[in-house]
């Protein structure tokens, strides 16, 4: 790869020993020899297998659960229901004071999405656990469900999650995250053209090659070693500590080797119940998602809807932008309130716009809870924003790349959330993109710089 040293020549540091130098990855020798130990490569004598009984309904009240036949099934050692979990209602981000707790480890009284965990079966073999799980009888009263964000926000929509009391996340700023900068209506009034478009996306599954799971081994002193492929070791450890009401010193987590994650392994789903199983049986426990579970149960990237209204001048300047964003959290929060909030910060785009108005909602529906995935909260926004930029350029008859040069933020520009721009290299990236894609722009744009001396 060629390093263009002419950019930022007077501020460039060229005496770095590590940054910009190729270094071998420390874990690759283990990968190529097959020696790297992924969590499922641990096998303990007497290990039990955990299988989950899951809700076949999107929204239902649980009238009763009968585990007696499952408990009699040969090989079954323990069957767990909500009453076995010390602190059954939790939410991951409570650790950073983002509440309320809104999700059950094992469903208690109600299920809010198809696939929700209801009963955990621990057996000597995977097959026995699976067969016994099929014998658990759950009596459901099916409730009306809501799958569309706009439907969910309408008055009278079925209430998805009682812990919230309404079908949206209540931020400290109100029913949505807001950005207010300048006077957006005045901006539209003075604009030569206005373009309002809406964009929407579907959920996306990460599909890591290694499925989600963990192996737990009791250490014999009421302390448990959990081999896990979590991407969020301390979120997992601390949430497990809360859920199981056990001090963190009793939980020994071993991780760091993840067979693909992409954000899909940051939720705290498998570890607490597997450790509880090990605690109550005194035996090692393996809980690993089948491929089918991975595809159907693990939290996907949220479906989003973005409505963008832009005011633009004939000379190419964007003078006003109004965005309303909706993030489909599914039935539970997990990381979605944070994703929707990130969108609020991101929708101005890397552009300098004097008047901005943004609302982003985190909406609850009876769909699979969504959560983290590679840049969640901003990637769909980027898709929408850049398609919108192309449409705006077409509207005023301007080259789409030149249009971006006109609006690109540069050092010292004030962003809509009142953070001055620093270290922007957008102009330079677009100049290189122009060359690489053989998409020439006028010489004046090639002479621009993001770097403003003294900014």
């Amino acid at each position: 790869m060629e390093l263009r040293k002419n950019y930022f020549a007077d501020v460039r540091k060229d005496d770095l020993h590590e940054i910009g130098q190729p270094r071998p990855r420390s874990d690759s020798p283990g990968h190529v020899t097959g020696k790297t130990a992924f969590f499922a490569d641990r096998n303990f004598p007497g290990m039990l297998h955990l299988k989950m009984v899951r809700s076949p309904h999107h929204h239902a009240r649980i009238r009763s659960i009968d585990t007696s036949e499952a408990e009699k099934h040969p090989g079954v050692v323990k069957v767990l229901t909500a009453k076995d979990v010390p602190h059954n209602v939790y939410t991951i981000l409570i650790l950073i004071q983002v509440g309320p707790e809104d999700e059950t480890v094992l469903a208690d009284g109600k299920v809010r999405w198809k696939g929700e965990a209801v009963v955990a079966v621990l057996a000597e073999t995977e097959r026995a656990a699976q067969e016994a799980a099929a014998k658990v009888k759950v009596d459901y009263e099916v409730l009306p469900a809501v799958f569309d964000m706009e439907e969910a926000l309408k008055p009278g929509a079925p209430l998805v999650n009682e812990y919230h009391g309404q079908n949206y996340y209540l931020y400290d700023s109100g029913e949505c995250r807001k950005v207010r900068f300048g006077d957006v209506e005045a901006g539209f009034a003075g604009a030569d053209h206005i373009l309002e478009q809406s964009y929407q996306s579907s959920p996306i599954e990460h599909a890591p090659t290694e499925t989600t799971g963990c192996v737990v081994a009791p250490e014999g002193n009421d302390r448990f070693t959990c081999y896990t492929n979590t991407q969020a070791m301390f979120f997992t450890l601390d949430n497990t500590s809360i859920i199981l009401q056990m001090p963190g010193s009793k939980l020994h987590f071993v991780g760091g080797t993840v067979g693909g994650g992409f954000g899909g392994k940051v939720d705290v789903i498998v570890e607490p119940i597997a450790i509880l199983g090990a605690k109550l049986t005194g035996r090692p426990v393996c809980f690993i998602y089948s491929r089918e579970e991975e595809m159907q149960i693990s939290s996907p990237r949220a479906a989003e809807k973005v409505v963008i209204k832009d005011g633009v001048m004939k000379d190419g300047r964007i003078v006003a932008r109004k965005v309303t964003g909706y993030t489909d959290a599914g039935a539970y929060s997990r990381h979605s309130p944070y994703g929707a909030q990130k969108g609020a910060g991101h929708y101005p785009g890397p552009y300098t716009i004097p008047n901005v108005w943004i609302d982003t909602y985190c909406v609850y529906t009876n769909r699979t809870p969504s959560s983290a995935m590679r840049g969640f909260g901003v990637t769909i926004g980027d898709f929408a924003l850049e398609v919108q930029m192309d449409k705006l350029a077409r509207l005023i008859g301007m080259d789409p790349l030149e249009f971006r040069f006109i609006n690109a933020y540069r050092d010292g520009d004030m962003k809509a959330h009142r953070q001055p721009t620093e270290g922007a290299a957008l102009i330079e990236c677009m100049q290189e993109a122009s060359r690489a894609a053989n998409w020439p722009v006028a010489e004046k744009y090639m002479a621009m710089s993001s770097y403003v001396k003294g900014a």
Partner: protein
């Protein structure tokens, strides 16, 4: 469940086990014999992470019953390095940054080995076809293809 005897060579050493009838070769290797280099990604024959070589042919160990492997010679990635010296494919995967999370790597290397054993000087198209049964979700296929082509070149240089 009925136990059946199974006997084969694994990476050159004799193995003899009694296993439950119906056990996959993948589970027998990982749980009984302790060779965890074949990985279980899908257990339904679509991801290729469990690929092993049986009598010179590439096979999915998750779809192969262990009891059908008696008398065969099985090679896994853990048996590829000889005397601590990496196989040219392993060396190439290491040198060309063709592993990220590493979960698909053992299966990829097995698929590539069978290709190079049959076709020492493959085209890029040959490599792509040979790896088409193996799914990678994070490294990206291009570095892997380059690693196999690099290993092929180093092999032909050794032969010359």
């Amino acid at each position: 469940m009925a136990k059946v005897p199974v006997q084969f060579t694994l990476n050159g050493s004799e193995k003899a086990e009694f296993i439950d009838s119906g056990t996959t070769l993948l589970n027998a290797l990982r749980d009984k014999i302790g060779d965890t280099s074949p990985k279980g990604g899908c257990h339904q024959g679509t991801c290729g992470a469990c690929s092993v070589i049986i009598d010179g042919e590439l096979r999915l160990s998750c779809l192969t019953l262990a009891e059908t492997c008696s008398g065969t010679a099985i090679t896994t990635t853990s048996g590829l390095a000889e005397g601590g010296v990496l196989h040219p494919l392993q060396r190439a995967f290491l040198d060309t940054f063709a592993t990220q999370c590493g979960f698909c790597t053992p299966g990829m290397i097995m698929a590539a080995k069978v290709l190079l054993d049959h076709t020492p000087n493959p085209t890029r198209g040959d490599v792509v076809e040979a790896l088409s049964g193996n799914i990678c979700r994070c490294t990206g296929y291009e570095p892997i293809i380059q690693a196999v082509l690099t290993a092929a070149r180093s092999n032909s240089q050794n032969a010359a």
